[in-house]
Protein backbone atom coordinates (compact mmCIF):
# COMPACT_ATOMS: atom_id res chain seq x y z
CA UNK A 1 0.00 0.00 0.00
CA UNK A 2 2.62 2.52 1.10
CA UNK A 3 6.25 2.24 0.05
CA UNK A 4 9.00 4.59 1.15
CA UNK A 5 12.40 4.19 -0.47
CA UNK A 6 15.41 5.95 1.02
CA UNK A 7 13.37 9.05 1.84
CA UNK A 8 15.26 12.06 3.11
CA UNK A 9 13.93 15.46 4.14
CA UNK A 10 16.24 18.35 4.85
CA UNK A 11 14.94 21.78 5.80
CA UNK A 12 16.67 24.79 4.26
CA UNK A 13 20.03 24.50 2.53
CA UNK A 14 22.66 21.76 2.66
CA UNK A 15 23.57 22.49 6.27
CA UNK A 16 19.89 22.62 7.26
CA UNK A 17 18.17 20.32 9.74
CA UNK A 18 17.98 16.73 8.55
CA UNK A 19 14.52 15.76 9.79
CA UNK A 20 14.15 12.43 7.98
CA UNK A 21 17.28 10.50 7.08
CA UNK A 22 17.13 7.67 4.54
CA UNK A 23 13.91 6.00 5.67
CA UNK A 24 12.76 2.86 3.87
CA UNK A 25 9.44 1.41 4.97
CA UNK A 26 6.74 -0.79 3.57
CA UNK A 27 3.24 -0.61 5.00
CA UNK A 28 0.77 -3.31 4.00
CA UNK A 29 -2.84 -2.92 2.93
CA UNK A 30 -5.20 -2.73 5.91
CA UNK A 31 -2.42 -2.63 8.50
CA UNK A 32 -2.26 -0.44 11.55
CA UNK A 33 1.29 0.78 11.44
CA UNK A 34 2.79 2.68 14.36
CA UNK A 35 5.78 4.99 14.26
CA UNK A 36 7.16 5.76 17.70
CA UNK A 37 9.84 8.21 18.73
CA UNK A 38 10.52 11.06 21.09
CA UNK A 39 9.74 14.60 19.96
CA UNK A 40 12.23 15.80 17.41
CA UNK A 41 12.79 12.28 16.04
CA UNK A 42 11.32 13.28 12.68
CA UNK A 43 8.07 11.34 12.89
CA UNK A 44 5.84 14.41 12.33
CA UNK A 45 7.77 15.26 9.19
CA UNK A 46 7.65 11.65 8.04
CA UNK A 47 3.86 11.42 8.29
CA UNK A 48 3.49 14.76 6.44
CA UNK A 49 5.54 13.37 3.59
CA UNK A 50 2.85 10.73 3.08
CA UNK A 51 0.17 13.25 2.03
CA UNK A 52 2.49 15.74 0.39
CA UNK A 53 2.21 18.43 3.06
CA UNK A 54 6.01 18.20 2.98
CA UNK A 55 8.09 17.39 -0.09
CA UNK A 56 10.98 14.93 0.29
CA UNK A 57 14.48 16.20 -0.51
CA UNK A 58 15.23 12.82 -2.06
CA UNK A 59 13.79 9.32 -2.25
CA UNK A 60 10.45 8.04 -3.43
CA UNK A 61 7.05 7.66 -1.75
CA UNK A 62 4.34 5.61 -3.43
CA UNK A 63 0.82 5.13 -2.14
CA UNK A 64 -1.38 2.60 -3.96
CA UNK A 65 1.00 2.81 -6.91
CA UNK A 66 0.99 6.62 -7.17
CA UNK A 67 4.28 8.41 -6.73
CA UNK A 68 3.39 11.17 -4.25
CA UNK A 69 6.47 13.31 -4.65
CA UNK A 70 6.06 13.85 -8.38
CA UNK A 71 2.30 14.28 -8.96
CA UNK A 72 0.92 17.67 -10.05
CA UNK A 73 -0.68 20.04 -7.55
CA UNK A 74 -4.12 19.16 -8.89
CA UNK A 75 -3.54 15.41 -8.62
CA UNK A 76 -2.07 15.85 -5.17
CA UNK A 77 -5.35 17.43 -4.03
CA UNK A 78 -7.16 14.35 -5.34
CA UNK A 79 -4.71 12.04 -3.56
CA UNK A 80 -5.25 13.92 -0.28
CA UNK A 81 -8.95 13.07 -0.37
CA UNK A 82 -7.89 9.41 -0.22
CA UNK A 83 -5.07 9.87 2.31
CA UNK A 84 -6.72 11.80 5.11
CA UNK A 85 -5.35 12.92 8.42
CA UNK A 86 -6.30 13.51 12.06
CA UNK A 87 -4.37 15.74 14.42
CA UNK A 88 -3.21 16.01 18.02
CA UNK A 89 -5.04 19.31 18.48
CA UNK A 90 -8.01 18.25 16.33
CA UNK A 91 -7.82 21.36 14.09
CA UNK A 92 -11.57 21.78 13.74
CA UNK A 93 -13.16 24.93 12.36
CA UNK A 94 -14.63 26.68 15.41
CA UNK A 95 -17.04 28.61 13.20
CA UNK A 96 -18.81 25.45 12.03
CA UNK A 97 -20.95 22.96 13.90
CA UNK A 98 -20.10 19.26 14.17
CA UNK A 99 -22.14 18.66 11.00
CA UNK A 100 -20.49 21.58 9.22
CA UNK A 101 -17.02 20.32 10.10
CA UNK A 102 -17.77 16.83 8.83
CA UNK A 103 -19.30 18.26 5.65
CA UNK A 104 -16.23 20.39 4.93
CA UNK A 105 -14.12 17.75 3.13
CA UNK A 106 -17.23 16.73 1.16
CA UNK A 107 -17.64 20.35 0.03
CA UNK A 108 -13.99 20.35 -1.02
CA UNK A 109 -14.56 17.17 -3.02
CA UNK A 110 -17.60 18.74 -4.70
CA UNK A 111 -20.17 16.26 -3.36
CA UNK A 112 -23.78 17.45 -4.02
CA UNK A 113 -25.71 18.79 -1.04
CA UNK A 114 -28.22 15.94 -0.61
CA UNK A 115 -25.50 13.30 -0.80
CA UNK A 116 -23.39 15.34 1.60
CA UNK A 117 -26.13 15.43 4.21
CA UNK A 118 -26.76 11.71 3.92
CA UNK A 119 -23.05 10.97 4.36
CA UNK A 120 -22.73 13.33 7.35
CA UNK A 121 -25.59 11.51 9.10
CA UNK A 122 -23.88 8.14 8.53
CA UNK A 123 -20.57 9.42 9.88
CA UNK A 124 -22.17 10.92 12.98
CA UNK A 125 -23.49 7.46 13.83
CA UNK A 126 -20.21 5.77 12.96
CA UNK A 127 -18.19 7.84 15.44
CA UNK A 128 -20.94 7.96 18.09
CA UNK A 129 -21.79 11.65 18.07
CA UNK A 130 -25.56 11.39 17.67
CA UNK A 131 -27.20 14.18 19.65
CA UNK A 132 -24.21 16.51 19.38
CA UNK A 133 -24.41 17.19 15.64
CA UNK A 134 -25.42 20.85 16.00
CA UNK A 135 -22.91 21.71 18.71
CA UNK A 136 -19.89 23.91 18.02
CA UNK A 137 -16.40 22.53 18.79
CA UNK A 138 -16.08 24.86 21.79
CA UNK A 139 -18.94 22.96 23.43
CA UNK A 140 -17.31 19.52 23.02
CA UNK A 141 -14.87 17.55 25.18
CA UNK A 142 -11.46 16.53 23.81
CA UNK A 143 -12.62 13.02 22.99
CA UNK A 144 -15.70 14.32 21.17
CA UNK A 145 -13.56 16.76 19.19
CA UNK A 146 -11.32 13.90 18.07
CA UNK A 147 -14.41 11.94 17.04
CA UNK A 148 -15.37 14.87 14.82
CA UNK A 149 -11.80 14.84 13.49
CA UNK A 150 -12.10 11.13 12.68
CA UNK A 151 -15.53 11.52 11.03
CA UNK A 152 -14.17 14.40 8.98
CA UNK A 153 -11.16 12.33 7.92
CA UNK A 154 -13.39 9.42 6.87
CA UNK A 155 -15.85 11.56 4.91
CA UNK A 156 -14.34 10.97 1.47
CA UNK A 157 -13.84 7.23 2.07
CA UNK A 158 -10.05 7.33 2.25
CA UNK A 159 -7.73 4.37 1.71
CA UNK A 160 -5.23 5.58 4.28
CA UNK A 161 -5.75 7.40 7.59
CA UNK A 162 -2.78 9.27 9.02
CA UNK A 163 -2.89 9.92 12.77
CA UNK A 164 -0.59 12.65 14.03
CA UNK A 165 -0.31 12.07 17.81
CA UNK A 166 -4.08 11.68 17.70
CA UNK A 167 -4.43 10.70 21.36
CA UNK A 168 -1.61 12.70 22.93
CA UNK A 169 -3.88 15.53 24.06
CA UNK A 170 -6.43 13.15 25.65
CA UNK A 171 -6.69 11.58 29.08
CA UNK A 172 -5.96 7.81 29.41
CA UNK A 173 -9.61 6.72 29.40
CA UNK A 174 -10.52 8.84 26.37
CA UNK A 175 -7.34 7.64 24.66
CA UNK A 176 -8.53 4.05 24.99
CA UNK A 177 -11.97 4.94 23.60
CA UNK A 178 -10.45 6.67 20.59
CA UNK A 179 -8.05 3.75 20.04
CA UNK A 180 -10.98 1.32 20.17
CA UNK A 181 -12.80 3.44 17.61
CA UNK A 182 -9.75 3.41 15.33
CA UNK A 183 -9.40 -0.38 15.63
CA UNK A 184 -13.09 -0.76 14.85
CA UNK A 185 -12.77 1.49 11.77
CA UNK A 186 -9.71 -0.43 10.62
CA UNK A 187 -11.61 -3.72 10.82
CA UNK A 188 -14.92 -2.49 9.42
CA UNK A 189 -13.67 -0.31 6.60
CA UNK A 190 -10.39 -2.10 5.97
CA UNK A 191 -8.42 1.09 5.63
CA UNK A 192 -4.72 1.35 6.35
CA UNK A 193 -3.84 3.41 9.43
CA UNK A 194 -0.46 5.02 10.02
CA UNK A 195 -0.05 6.54 13.44
CA UNK A 196 2.77 8.40 15.05
CA UNK A 197 3.03 8.59 18.80
CA UNK A 198 5.46 8.80 21.67
CA UNK A 199 3.41 6.42 23.82
CA UNK A 200 4.22 2.70 23.68
CA UNK A 201 0.78 2.06 25.14
CA UNK A 202 -0.78 3.20 21.85
CA UNK A 203 1.49 0.89 19.83
CA UNK A 204 0.78 -2.03 22.14
CA UNK A 205 -2.96 -1.55 22.08
CA UNK A 206 -3.73 -1.25 18.39
CA UNK A 207 -0.72 -1.51 16.08
CA UNK A 208 0.23 -4.58 14.04
CA UNK A 209 3.66 -3.32 13.03
CA UNK A 210 5.89 -0.70 14.49
CA UNK A 211 8.87 1.38 13.43
CA UNK A 212 11.03 3.10 16.03
CA UNK A 213 12.55 6.44 15.02
CA UNK A 214 15.51 8.29 16.45
CA UNK A 215 17.19 11.38 14.94
CA UNK A 216 15.44 11.01 11.60
CA UNK A 217 16.28 7.32 11.13
CA UNK A 218 14.24 4.17 11.59
CA UNK A 219 16.34 2.21 14.08
CA UNK A 220 14.05 -0.78 14.40
CA UNK A 221 10.92 -2.13 12.75
CA UNK A 222 8.83 -5.28 12.78
CA UNK A 223 5.72 -6.94 14.16
CA UNK A 224 4.70 -5.42 17.45
CA UNK A 225 4.91 -8.72 19.33
CA UNK A 226 8.41 -9.44 17.99
CA UNK A 227 9.63 -6.00 18.90
CA UNK A 228 8.18 -6.38 22.38
CA UNK A 229 9.93 -9.73 22.88
CA UNK A 230 13.29 -8.91 21.37
CA UNK A 231 13.86 -5.18 21.38
CA UNK A 232 17.28 -4.53 19.83
CA UNK A 233 18.04 -0.83 19.99
CA UNK A 234 18.53 0.90 23.33
CA UNK A 235 15.70 3.34 22.61
CA UNK A 236 13.34 0.46 21.75
CA UNK A 237 14.14 -1.26 25.04
CA UNK A 238 13.29 1.96 26.79
CA UNK A 239 9.96 2.24 24.98
CA UNK A 240 9.11 -1.43 25.62
CA UNK A 241 9.85 -1.10 29.32
CA UNK A 242 7.28 1.75 29.42
CA UNK A 243 4.53 -0.85 29.18
CA UNK A 244 6.07 -4.18 30.23
CA UNK A 245 7.80 -3.08 33.39
CA UNK A 246 5.64 -1.32 35.90
CA UNK A 247 7.27 1.52 37.75
CA UNK A 248 9.43 0.30 40.61
CA UNK A 249 10.82 -2.85 38.98
CA UNK A 250 14.41 -1.80 39.61
CA UNK A 251 13.72 -1.09 43.26
CA UNK A 252 11.92 -4.42 43.68
CA UNK A 253 14.91 -6.32 42.27
CA UNK A 254 17.37 -4.45 44.46
CA UNK A 255 15.24 -5.17 47.50
CA UNK A 256 15.08 -8.92 46.78
CA UNK A 257 18.85 -9.13 46.19
CA UNK A 258 19.42 -7.57 49.56
CA UNK A 259 16.95 -9.76 51.45
CA UNK A 260 17.83 -13.13 49.85
CA UNK A 261 21.31 -12.77 48.35
CA UNK A 262 21.82 -16.44 47.35
CA UNK A 263 18.76 -16.84 45.07
CA UNK A 264 18.90 -16.74 41.28
CA UNK A 265 16.80 -14.05 39.60
CA UNK A 266 15.18 -15.24 36.38
CA UNK A 267 13.09 -13.28 33.90
CA UNK A 268 10.53 -15.37 32.06
CA UNK A 269 8.83 -14.27 28.87
CA UNK A 270 5.63 -16.01 27.82
CA UNK A 271 4.09 -15.62 24.41
CA UNK A 272 0.62 -16.43 23.09
CA UNK A 273 -1.09 -19.47 24.66
CA UNK A 274 1.94 -20.08 26.92
CA UNK A 275 0.61 -17.21 29.03
CA UNK A 276 -2.41 -19.34 29.85
CA UNK A 277 -0.64 -22.57 30.90
CA UNK A 278 0.31 -23.50 34.44
CA UNK A 279 4.04 -23.80 33.76
CA UNK A 280 4.99 -22.62 37.21
CA UNK A 281 3.13 -25.26 39.17
CA UNK A 282 4.66 -28.06 37.09
CA UNK A 283 8.08 -26.51 37.72
CA UNK A 284 7.58 -26.61 41.46
CA UNK A 285 6.21 -30.18 41.38
CA UNK A 286 9.10 -31.50 39.29
CA UNK A 287 12.06 -29.84 41.01
CA UNK A 288 13.24 -29.35 44.56
CA UNK A 289 13.21 -25.58 44.35
CA UNK A 290 11.53 -22.71 46.12
CA UNK A 291 10.10 -20.03 43.93
CA UNK A 292 9.59 -16.47 44.97
CA UNK A 293 7.59 -14.25 42.61
CA UNK A 294 9.13 -10.82 42.40
CA UNK A 295 6.93 -9.33 39.74
CA UNK A 296 4.59 -10.31 36.93
CA UNK A 297 2.80 -8.60 34.11
CA UNK A 298 0.80 -9.54 31.01
CA UNK A 299 0.66 -7.20 28.03
CA UNK A 300 -1.96 -7.64 25.33
CA UNK A 301 -0.97 -6.60 21.82
CA UNK A 302 -2.81 -6.90 18.51
CA UNK A 303 -0.50 -9.84 17.67
CA UNK A 304 -1.27 -11.72 20.89
CA UNK A 305 -0.51 -11.65 24.58
CA UNK A 306 2.96 -11.24 25.97
CA UNK A 307 3.78 -11.91 29.61
CA UNK A 308 6.82 -11.30 31.73
CA UNK A 309 7.45 -12.82 35.12
CA UNK A 310 10.43 -12.19 37.35
CA UNK A 311 11.18 -15.06 39.74
CA UNK A 312 13.73 -15.78 42.33
CA UNK A 313 14.61 -19.48 42.38
CA UNK A 314 16.21 -21.01 45.44
CA UNK A 315 17.66 -24.51 45.39
CA UNK A 316 20.75 -26.64 45.87
CA UNK A 317 23.53 -26.70 43.28
CA UNK A 318 22.60 -27.70 39.76
CA UNK A 319 18.89 -28.05 40.41
CA UNK A 320 18.35 -24.36 39.64
CA UNK A 321 20.07 -24.77 36.24
CA UNK A 322 17.91 -27.82 35.51
CA UNK A 323 14.78 -25.90 36.44
CA UNK A 324 15.69 -23.13 33.99
CA UNK A 325 16.33 -25.69 31.25
CA UNK A 326 12.93 -27.22 31.98
CA UNK A 327 11.27 -23.85 31.48
CA UNK A 328 13.06 -23.38 28.17
CA UNK A 329 11.91 -26.83 27.01
CA UNK A 330 8.36 -25.79 27.85
CA UNK A 331 8.66 -22.95 25.33
CA UNK A 332 9.17 -20.18 27.82
CA UNK A 333 12.06 -17.79 27.34
CA UNK A 334 14.02 -17.83 30.58
CA UNK A 335 16.93 -15.55 31.14
CA UNK A 336 19.00 -15.17 34.31
CA UNK A 337 19.17 -11.56 35.39
CA UNK A 338 22.79 -10.84 36.12
CA UNK A 339 23.46 -8.31 38.78
CA UNK A 340 25.36 -5.37 37.32
Amino acid sequence: MIELKDVTKRYGQEDGLLAVDGVTLSIGDGAIFGIIGYSGAGKSTLIRLLNGLEKPTSGSITIAGREISSVSAKELRKVRQKVSMIFQHFNLLWSRTVKGNIAFPLEIAGVPKAERERRVEELIDLVGLRGRENAHPAELSGGQKQRVGIARALANEPEVLLCDEATSALDPETTDQILDLLTDINQRLGLTIVMITHEMHVIRKICHQVAVMESGRVVEKGNVLDVFQHPQAVITKRFVSQVTEPAGTEQALAHVRQEVPDGTLVKLVFIGERTEQPVLSSLIRSFQVDVNIVQGNITHTQGGAYGTLILQILGNGSVVQEAIQFLQREGVQAEVIVHD
Binding site: M85, N91, L92, L93, S95
Partner: protein, 222 residues
Protein backbone atom coordinates in the same frame (compact mmCIF):
# COMPACT_ATOMS: atom_id res chain seq x y z
CA UNK B 1 -37.54 73.93 23.80
CA UNK B 2 -35.39 72.65 20.93
CA UNK B 3 -35.82 76.02 19.15
CA UNK B 4 -34.38 77.89 22.16
CA UNK B 5 -31.29 75.66 22.38
CA UNK B 6 -30.69 75.52 18.62
CA UNK B 7 -32.10 78.86 17.30
CA UNK B 8 -30.14 78.86 14.05
CA UNK B 9 -30.50 75.20 13.05
CA UNK B 10 -32.45 74.48 9.89
CA UNK B 11 -33.36 70.86 10.55
CA UNK B 12 -34.17 70.04 6.93
CA UNK B 13 -30.71 71.17 5.83
CA UNK B 14 -29.10 69.29 8.70
CA UNK B 15 -31.04 66.13 7.85
CA UNK B 16 -29.78 66.37 4.26
CA UNK B 17 -26.25 66.73 5.64
CA UNK B 18 -26.79 63.70 7.90
CA UNK B 19 -27.91 61.61 4.95
CA UNK B 20 -24.82 62.67 3.02
CA UNK B 21 -22.60 61.69 5.93
CA UNK B 22 -24.31 58.32 6.29
CA UNK B 23 -24.01 57.74 2.56
CA UNK B 24 -20.28 58.58 2.55
CA UNK B 25 -19.61 56.46 5.61
CA UNK B 26 -21.56 53.41 4.48
CA UNK B 27 -20.31 53.45 0.88
CA UNK B 28 -16.68 54.03 1.85
CA UNK B 29 -16.89 51.34 4.56
CA UNK B 30 -18.15 48.78 2.03
CA UNK B 31 -15.36 49.54 -0.45
CA UNK B 32 -12.78 49.71 2.32
CA UNK B 33 -13.89 46.31 3.56
CA UNK B 34 -13.48 44.76 0.11
CA UNK B 35 -10.18 46.44 -0.79
CA UNK B 36 -8.74 46.07 2.71
CA UNK B 37 -9.70 42.39 2.84
CA UNK B 38 -8.02 41.71 -0.51
CA UNK B 39 -4.87 43.58 0.54
CA UNK B 40 -4.84 41.88 3.95
CA UNK B 41 -5.24 38.41 2.45
CA UNK B 42 -2.46 39.06 -0.09
CA UNK B 43 -0.23 40.33 2.73
CA UNK B 44 -0.98 37.21 4.78
CA UNK B 45 -0.64 34.61 2.02
CA UNK B 46 2.56 36.12 0.61
CA UNK B 47 4.33 36.22 3.98
CA UNK B 48 7.08 33.63 4.63
CA UNK B 49 5.87 30.10 5.26
CA UNK B 50 2.37 30.73 3.87
CA UNK B 51 0.67 29.36 0.78
CA UNK B 52 1.88 32.04 -1.63
CA UNK B 53 5.13 32.83 0.19
CA UNK B 54 6.69 35.39 -2.15
CA UNK B 55 9.09 38.06 -1.04
CA UNK B 56 8.47 40.46 -3.94
CA UNK B 57 4.68 40.36 -3.73
CA UNK B 58 4.85 40.77 0.05
CA UNK B 59 7.25 43.71 -0.29
CA UNK B 60 5.12 45.53 -2.87
CA UNK B 61 1.89 45.06 -0.91
CA UNK B 62 3.46 46.11 2.39
CA UNK B 63 5.04 49.16 0.76
CA UNK B 64 1.68 50.21 -0.73
CA UNK B 65 -0.08 49.71 2.61
CA UNK B 66 2.58 51.54 4.61
CA UNK B 67 2.81 54.51 2.27
CA UNK B 68 -0.92 55.17 2.05
CA UNK B 69 -1.42 54.56 5.74
CA UNK B 70 1.16 57.23 6.52
CA UNK B 71 -0.13 60.10 4.38
CA UNK B 72 -2.31 62.49 6.43
CA UNK B 73 -5.87 62.32 5.14
CA UNK B 74 -6.18 66.03 4.26
CA UNK B 75 -3.05 65.80 2.10
CA UNK B 76 -4.26 62.52 0.57
CA UNK B 77 -7.46 64.23 -0.62
CA UNK B 78 -5.43 66.94 -2.35
CA UNK B 79 -2.97 64.45 -3.85
CA UNK B 80 -5.84 62.35 -5.21
CA UNK B 81 -7.69 65.21 -6.90
CA UNK B 82 -6.58 64.23 -10.44
CA UNK B 83 -7.45 60.57 -9.77
CA UNK B 84 -10.84 61.50 -8.30
CA UNK B 85 -11.65 63.73 -11.27
CA UNK B 86 -10.77 60.87 -13.58
CA UNK B 87 -13.03 58.23 -12.01
CA UNK B 88 -15.82 60.37 -10.50
CA UNK B 89 -15.88 63.12 -13.14
CA UNK B 90 -16.43 65.73 -10.42
CA UNK B 91 -14.73 67.14 -7.34
CA UNK B 92 -17.90 68.12 -5.54
CA UNK B 93 -20.50 66.24 -3.54
CA UNK B 94 -20.35 63.17 -1.33
CA UNK B 95 -19.35 60.81 -4.16
CA UNK B 96 -16.19 62.75 -4.81
CA UNK B 97 -14.98 61.98 -1.30
CA UNK B 98 -15.15 58.20 -1.79
CA UNK B 99 -11.82 57.52 -3.59
CA UNK B 100 -9.82 59.41 -0.99
CA UNK B 101 -11.78 57.82 1.89
CA UNK B 102 -11.28 54.30 0.57
CA UNK B 103 -7.62 54.73 -0.36
CA UNK B 104 -6.96 56.35 3.01
CA UNK B 105 -8.74 53.69 5.08
CA UNK B 106 -8.19 50.42 3.18
CA UNK B 107 -4.45 50.13 4.05
CA UNK B 108 -5.32 50.76 7.69
CA UNK B 109 -7.95 48.02 7.54
CA UNK B 110 -5.58 45.71 5.63
CA UNK B 111 -3.25 45.72 8.66
CA UNK B 112 -6.14 44.73 10.90
CA UNK B 113 -7.07 41.94 8.47
CA UNK B 114 -3.48 40.69 8.56
CA UNK B 115 -3.50 40.59 12.36
CA UNK B 116 -6.88 38.80 12.35
CA UNK B 117 -5.59 36.17 9.90
CA UNK B 118 -2.40 35.62 11.88
CA UNK B 119 -4.57 34.71 14.86
CA UNK B 120 -6.01 31.68 13.01
CA UNK B 121 -4.56 28.39 14.23
CA UNK B 122 -2.03 27.21 11.64
CA UNK B 123 -3.23 23.66 12.21
CA UNK B 124 -6.65 24.49 10.81
CA UNK B 125 -5.11 25.68 7.54
CA UNK B 126 -2.96 22.56 7.49
CA UNK B 127 -6.04 20.41 8.05
CA UNK B 128 -7.80 22.06 5.11
CA UNK B 129 -4.75 21.45 2.93
CA UNK B 130 -4.64 17.83 4.07
CA UNK B 131 -8.22 17.45 2.80
CA UNK B 132 -7.17 18.62 -0.64
CA UNK B 133 -8.54 22.18 -0.44
CA UNK B 134 -7.56 24.71 -3.11
CA UNK B 135 -6.24 28.09 -2.00
CA UNK B 136 -9.51 29.80 -3.00
CA UNK B 137 -11.43 27.30 -0.86
CA UNK B 138 -9.05 28.00 2.03
CA UNK B 139 -9.64 31.76 1.64
CA UNK B 140 -13.43 31.62 1.51
CA UNK B 141 -14.11 28.64 3.78
CA UNK B 142 -11.31 28.84 6.33
CA UNK B 143 -9.54 32.21 6.48
CA UNK B 144 -12.60 34.48 6.29
CA UNK B 145 -15.08 32.50 8.45
CA UNK B 146 -12.45 31.63 11.08
CA UNK B 147 -11.37 35.26 11.51
CA UNK B 148 -14.80 36.85 11.04
CA UNK B 149 -15.26 38.27 14.57
CA UNK B 150 -11.90 40.05 14.33
CA UNK B 151 -12.67 41.19 10.78
CA UNK B 152 -15.99 42.66 11.94
CA UNK B 153 -14.59 44.40 14.99
CA UNK B 154 -11.84 45.78 12.76
CA UNK B 155 -14.31 47.15 10.24
CA UNK B 156 -16.29 48.72 13.11
CA UNK B 157 -13.24 50.67 14.23
CA UNK B 158 -12.47 51.56 10.62
CA UNK B 159 -16.04 52.75 9.95
CA UNK B 160 -15.82 55.09 12.93
CA UNK B 161 -12.57 56.60 11.70
CA UNK B 162 -14.10 56.85 8.22
CA UNK B 163 -16.91 58.88 9.76
CA UNK B 164 -14.24 61.21 11.13
CA UNK B 165 -12.62 61.40 7.69
CA UNK B 166 -15.97 62.32 6.07
CA UNK B 167 -16.15 65.37 8.33
CA UNK B 168 -12.74 66.44 7.05
CA UNK B 169 -13.75 65.74 3.46
CA UNK B 170 -16.86 67.82 4.12
CA UNK B 171 -14.78 70.88 4.85
CA UNK B 172 -13.31 70.86 1.37
CA UNK B 173 -16.62 70.49 -0.42
CA UNK B 174 -17.96 66.96 -0.01
CA UNK B 175 -21.01 68.06 2.00
CA UNK B 176 -22.28 66.21 5.05
CA UNK B 177 -22.22 67.07 8.74
CA UNK B 178 -18.57 68.17 8.72
CA UNK B 179 -19.43 70.72 6.07
CA UNK B 180 -22.43 71.90 8.10
CA UNK B 181 -20.42 72.26 11.30
CA UNK B 182 -17.63 74.15 9.55
CA UNK B 183 -19.36 76.39 6.99
CA UNK B 184 -22.73 76.90 8.62
CA UNK B 185 -21.58 76.70 12.22
CA UNK B 186 -18.02 77.91 12.57
CA UNK B 187 -17.69 80.39 9.71
CA UNK B 188 -21.05 82.05 10.34
CA UNK B 189 -20.45 81.99 14.07
CA UNK B 190 -23.47 79.80 14.87
CA UNK B 191 -22.24 77.60 17.71
CA UNK B 192 -25.57 75.79 17.99
CA UNK B 193 -25.25 74.40 14.45
CA UNK B 194 -21.80 73.00 15.21
CA UNK B 195 -23.20 71.48 18.40
CA UNK B 196 -26.16 69.88 16.63
CA UNK B 197 -23.86 68.42 13.95
CA UNK B 198 -21.57 67.03 16.65
CA UNK B 199 -24.46 65.38 18.47
CA UNK B 200 -25.65 63.75 15.24
CA UNK B 201 -22.14 62.45 14.50
CA UNK B 202 -21.90 61.02 18.02
CA UNK B 203 -25.23 59.25 17.58
CA UNK B 204 -23.96 57.67 14.35
CA UNK B 205 -20.77 56.55 16.12
CA UNK B 206 -22.77 54.91 18.90
CA UNK B 207 -24.99 53.13 16.39
CA UNK B 208 -21.97 51.79 14.44
CA UNK B 209 -20.30 50.59 17.64
CA UNK B 210 -23.47 48.96 18.92
CA UNK B 211 -24.19 47.13 15.65
CA UNK B 212 -20.54 46.04 15.34
CA UNK B 213 -20.36 44.70 18.91
CA UNK B 214 -23.67 42.88 18.59
CA UNK B 215 -22.57 41.24 15.34
CA UNK B 216 -19.27 40.06 16.85
CA UNK B 217 -21.03 38.69 19.90
CA UNK B 218 -23.52 36.76 17.80
CA UNK B 219 -20.85 35.28 15.54
CA UNK B 220 -18.19 34.28 18.01
CA UNK B 221 -18.67 30.60 18.89
CA UNK B 222 -15.22 30.08 20.40
Amino acid sequence: MIETIFPNVDWDVLWEATKETIYMTVASTIFTFILGLILGIVLFLSSPGQLWANRLLNFITSAFVNVFRSIPFLILIILLIPFTKLIMESMRGPQAALPALVIGAAPFYARMVLIALQEIDKGVIEAARSMGAKTTTIIFKVLIPESLPALISGITVTAISLLGFTAMAGVIGAGGLGNAAFLDGFQRNRGDVTMAATILILIIVFIIQFVGDAAVKKMDKR
